[in-house]
């Protein structure tokens, strides 16, 4: 167990091959395997993103794996309660490194609409228990927002953005 209550592989390898690493990162970024893990309302939007209209397969992330041992992206899509938190951490620990976390929706970011004085069952933000890479605001966010988060993650992994930024309309 690490400092924050979970084990994180942060040590760099002794020998690092820059070009090989770059190539590997490109491969990782374009074949992210998310975990089949639905918590609440946002899970339905995640499913929508995987289905025919939004088609997450265009970005190589359609292989949803029910087992954390085969996944490298955890999408926290919903409210994490105090009863659920140990399970979420266990699942994250079971994922092989390198691994990433997307906090989808307001509940995962900060507790969202369910924070009030005297609440007794909520983790106010999943970043208190897991290292989050990308935050997606919304209640629930649209599937397009999840796709954009995937692109942001890709940018984080490889350092460059492959897909163009959509034009701003507002």
């Amino acid at each position: 167990m690490g400092k924050g209550g979970f084990y994180l592989e942060t040590k760099n390898p002794i020998i690092k091959f820059a070009i090989a690493e770059k190539f590997l990162n490109l491969a990782r970024a374009n074949s992210i395997w998310p975990m089949t893990f639905g918590l609440a309302c946002c899970a339905i939007e995640m499913m929508s993103a995987a289905m025919a209209r939004f088609d997450i397969a265009r970005f190589g992330a359609e292989v949803f794996r029910p087992s954390p041992r085969q996944a490298d992206l955890m999408i926290i899509n919903g409210t994490v309660t105090k009863k659920m938190a140990p399970t979420v951490v266990t699942l994250f620990e079971q994922m092989p490194s390198p691994k990433w976390v997307i906090a989808m929706g307001n509940c995962a970011i900060s507790g969202g609409p369910f924070v009030f004085e005297g609440q007794y069952n909520l983790i106010e933000g999943v970043d208190k228990i897991l290292p989050v890479d990308v935050y997606v605001p919304g209640c629930p966010p649209r599937p397009e927002a999840l796709l954009e988060a995937l692109m942001k993650l890709e940018e984080k992994i490889t350092g460059t953005r492959r897909f163009p930024v959509p034009e701003k309309q507002w």
């Binding site: 289905m51 409210t79 659920m84 609440q119």
Partner: protein
């Protein structure tokens, strides 16, 4: 029916006062004040008359706690409220779990949220809350958990079990549709017993209701049941309209009916996909989502959101519908009718699918009153119980529609009923659009800060999963004193331990899928 029940109670139960209540104002017909000595005999009476336990909840009045039992009949609406006062210090009451099986869970729920001890309950352990809780959350004054109750916190303690093993189905499991956990005791491939563990998504809606004004609570119900969001929204607003006596214009009633039915179709479509995916067929999932996206587009046009709609307001709607909505809905009706043939070929007539669901998970009609099931689960046993028909709300009384019922009560029946219901929903929408009157879409003079008169109200609507009841106690302030949600999946899921016993684990997955569970709704 109401008169007969009232007379029956007076004749058989001596010394019990029955008060007739105005149904249009309060939402129930009869009220009985019970004592600790006679509560069991009163409940036994209702069990004999084949009433079902619609709801059991507790209200904290500081001076005393009040247990509220709601009974109803499947044949004709006759809602009876039975109240039982218990003292606030070390509260206890006799259990009724040996009479109604569903009371097992209701009593456990009350025990952990209010600290009421039920004498004679066989398994009074915590159901919802996490291990570190040290208060009874829904008590008005802060009361810390007693030492005796702290021992009951962790509900799963594997006992000595030599010839088998335990399987933990969930909380992260693709076929539980969320974060439900079922502890299954196995003997080889067969299930010895199954025990659902709830509360992995307990989001404190009922506590929140007591902290927020009526208007501020509007976005919560859609997040309770995100698939039938408009139906939950409707249940919430109609209850408060009943409490405050607000008249809703006819146009709003029709639009409510149309949008709620559209939402029902989208919920059922998702269920068909998910159910077949549970059984191993992933293709229909893609097709149903494609159809579902059409509904989301239509509803997004008028409500502004894709999933958690908050469209209905007290006394009407957020905004009026336009011609584009009507045209799109008409087009969608035509489109979906053309798709049913494809679904029949793809799923209904698929031999693998039929073999996996036919004759599995058979629910007999006799035991449904014990569990208080509702929705497609009870209709599959052949009982035509539908709140839209027996206690009409919105514009359902002005539209003629039929209720599909099953014959055997197995998983195939539950599937067929939902498919039929989608077709019937399309008919309802078509008729409602034909009859759609013009006029205002919002009641005038609805105050921004609602302060309902003192009293309580129970109101039920038919959500895609069954009877959704809202019980509100008002104390004349702008926040509810207590708001209890009677949710359909809760009582439907209670039948799972009964149906899974002795089944193969793969068949139990099919049964679990057939309930159409939405976990946030169960956990609230």
């Amino acid at each position: 029916m109401v008169k007969k029940t009232s007379d029956d109670i007076k004749n058989t139960l001596k010394g019990v006062d029955v008060v007739e209540i105005s149904y249009t104002e309060r939402g129930y017909h009869l009220a009985i004040e019970a004592q600790k000595e006679n509560i069991v005999s009163i409940v036994e009476f209702f069990d004999k008359k084949s009433f079902y336990l619609a709801d059991l909840c507790c209200v904290d009045y500081v001076d005393y706690l009040e247990l509220v039992y709601f009974f109803n009949n499947h044949k004709e609406p006759c809602r009876v409220k039975v109240t039982l006062k218990v003292e606030p210090d070390k509260p206890s009451a006799p259990t009724i779990s040996h009479i109604y099986t569903i009371a097992h869970w209701y009593e456990r729920e009350i025990h952990e949220f209010f600290g009421v001890y039920f004498e004679g309950h066989p398994h009074l352990v915590y159901l919802f809350l996490h291990d570190a809780i040290d208060i009874y959350p829904l008590r008005k004054k802060q009361v810390s958990v007693t030492e005796d109750d702290k021992k009951l916190l962790s509900s799963f303690k594997p006992e000595e079990f030599e010839d088998g093993f335990f399987i933990n189905l969930g909380p992260q499991h693709p076929s539980t549709h969320g974060v439900l956990r079922v502890v299954v005791k196995m003997d080889g491939e067969y299930i010895v017993s199954a025990e659902p563990v709830l509360g992995y998504l307990h989001r404190m809606h009922e506590k929140m209701a007591e902290n927020r004004s009526y208007v501020q609570f509007l976005p919560n119900p859609p997040r309770m049941d995100y698939l039938g969001a408009l139906n939950f929204n409707l249940g919430h607003v109609t209850t408060i309209e009943k409490l405050c006596n607000i008249e809703v214009p006819e146009r709003a009633q029709y639009i409510r009916t149309i949008t709620a039915e559209l939402n029902r179709i989208s919920s059922h479509l998702l269920w068909v996909g998910a159910f077949v995916a549970d059984l191993g067929g992933l293709t229909p999932f893609l097709y149903t989502f494609q159809d579902r996206e059409h509904i989301l587009d239509i509803l997004e046009g008028i409500t502004g959101s894709r999933l958690t709609y908050c469209y209905f307001r007290f006394g009407g709607l957020y905004n009026d519908v336009d011609d584009a909505f009507i045209d799109a809905t008409k087009q969608f009706i035509k489109h979906l009718r053309g798709r049913f043939g494809m679904y029949e070929k793809l799923v209904t007539k698929n031999v693998i699918f039929i073999n996996r669901v036919k004759g599995i998970g058979v629910l007999e009609p006799g035991i449904t009153t014990k569990y208080g099931c509702s929705g497609p689960v009870i209709r599959s046993t052949g009982i035509p119980f539908d709140i839209r028909k027996v206690e009409p709300y919105a514009a359902y009384d002005k539209i003629d529609f039929e209720i599909p019922v099953g014959a055997t009560g197995d998983n195939m029946d539950r599937y067929m009923i939902r498919i039929r219901e989608m077709e019937i929903s399309l008919n309802i929408i078509e008729k409602a659009i034909e009859k759609l009157p013009s006029g205002p879409f919002k009641a005038e003079k609805v105050p921004k800060k609602l302060k309902p008169p003192k009293g309580d109200v129970y109101h039920a609507v038919e959500s895609p999963r069954g009877e959704l009841g809202v019980y509100i106690v008002s104390d004349e302030s702008d926040t509810p004193y207590r708001m209890k949600w009677r949710v359909p999946s809760y009582s439907n899921l209670m039948t799972f331990p009964y149906l899974a016993e002795g089944e193969l684990i793969s068949d139990a997955i099919a049964t679990l899928g057939s309930y159409d569970l939405v976990i946030p709704e169960i956990d609230r």
